[in-house]
């Protein structure tokens, strides 16, 4: 099986399983909902009119829900697919790419679902002028988050207490992407032009961790029990 076919098999398998069980998306969406509600209580929603703060709240929600998604990338109950895959003579990197893409798809779906809730709870609106930029910045950040999450989750998922460990390892590494995404989103929500920098940094982040995942996943997934 070539790398490309293996990759598309992983994506199709993950998506098909998710369509049947909806366990990952449900867990992520529920987390997003809970976090948004808690945040709207913690930060008086009507007074949080600084677009940067709103962007920060949105990204905190997405990161916490995204970590749940990354955690489940390697823990969907008994996963015969992953085990079989690791035994087969297929480049391991294609499992990384497949899992990253499927996690990215689920995270994007969660983000799309949580935006209306966010807009209602915080009485916000997205200016139509920056909509394409907003989508681009969000997708770039979510892609980097998925790649990093999949690489780290492949290590922590089989460790006891791995879910806590995953967050401890993932959140600090995610900080540059968070800074770029929050700044970019905040400026767009405030009707400003964010310039090229947030997208450039997110692109660098994505390339770094897609590359690192491609090269290191072989070691991370080895001897998985």
């Amino acid at each position: 099986m070539t790398g490309w076919r293996a990759f598309s098999t992983v994506v199709r398998w993950d998506v098909a399983r998710e369509m049947r069980r909806r366990s990952t998306l449900a867990a992520m969406a529920a987390t997003a909902l809970v976090v948004l509600f808690v945040l709207s209580f913690a930060v008086d929603a009507r007074r949080a009119d600084d677009p940067r703060i709103r962007a920060g709240l949105l990204w905190v929600t997405w990161i916490l829900a995204g970590a749940v998604g990354a955690e489940r990338a390697f823990r969907g109950g008994r996963d015969a697919m992953t085990d079989g895959f690791l035994l087969a003579p297929i480049p391991r990197a294609s499992l990384f790419w497949g899992r990253t893409v499927s996690t990215f798809l689920f995270t994007t779906a969660m983000s799309a679902l949580s935006i209306p809730v966010f807009l209602v709870l915080f009485d916000a609106s997205v200016p139509s002028a920056g909509l394409a930029w907003l989508a681009a910045v969000s997708l770039l950040a979510l892609l980097g988050m998925s790649a990093l999450g999949v690489l780290l989750a492949s290590m922590t998922s089989s460790v006891r207490g791995g879910d806590v460990l995953l967050r401890l390892l993932m959140l600090p590494v995610l900080l540059p992407a968070v800074a770029a995404a929050v700044t970019g989103t905040g400026q767009l929500l405030g009707g400003q032009d964010p310039g090229i920098r947030p997208a450039a940094l997110l692109l660098a982040f994505d390339l770094t961790f897609l590359g690192a995942g491609h090269l290191l996943f072989d070691h991370a997934a080895e001897d998985r029990t």
Partner: protein, 264 residues
Amino acid sequence: MNAPADISHPAGMPPPAGMPPDDPDAGDRGGAYPFASAIPFAAHAAVAFAGVGWLDHLIASLAPQAVKQIGTSYLIQYYHVPAAISMYLFFLLCAVAGIVVLATGSPVWDRRAHALGLTALLLNAIVLGTGMVWGKTAWGVWWDWADPRLLTSAVAFLMYLGYSMLQDALRDDPRRAKFAAIYGIVALLNLPLVHYAIKWFGTASHPADVKMKTPEISMTLSVAMSVFPVFWLLVYRWVHDRLALAARAETVMARLRRLEEDVR
């Protein structure tokens, strides 16, 4: 400290027949760094402490002049700047050792990477502490959310805290070495991104640096730059030898347990 003596077998006795070789690094007794076995720990310590003493003497002789110009706290730069440079050096070495671990699976390099990561974390704490003291006098605040260097070291601290927690969580796991190596590489790769993220998206402009240039000051700074790596190499060696000792004790205990079972 010298490499601990091999106490897994009584002196001069071959391991009993039927026993698997149980020394994890039999035949590969790497020290903390190349030629470490040729340099006694005490000699290294003597050089390091003499260097720090010399540095402190130089700093103390600068104090009256500095107090007049800026304030005593400025002198903390002689600890802060070389500590920061040593910290980045240790981050780099930790990732390089991690690459060697991934390529060869060597337990010697694994121990080196582990000790480098822990020492870097300690250095990181010192960089943060001295940086905050310096920031308080130079900029009037303990913590500046806009300074890329301060925040980069803060993020690095969180990452290497994660590194040490990963090492700890997987203590008995055979995959520990590889996973820690991967995270060490990931953390190093992230440092430039963190730096630019904070530089570009920080909330305020960075206050100007304080500069004081006289021959004595550049001389003191170069002494500090050469003394610090030697001193921190000593700390690293100490951490490394602790880890080596713990690993050896583990091996001996496992062997004793096996012998006990055989006797029963």
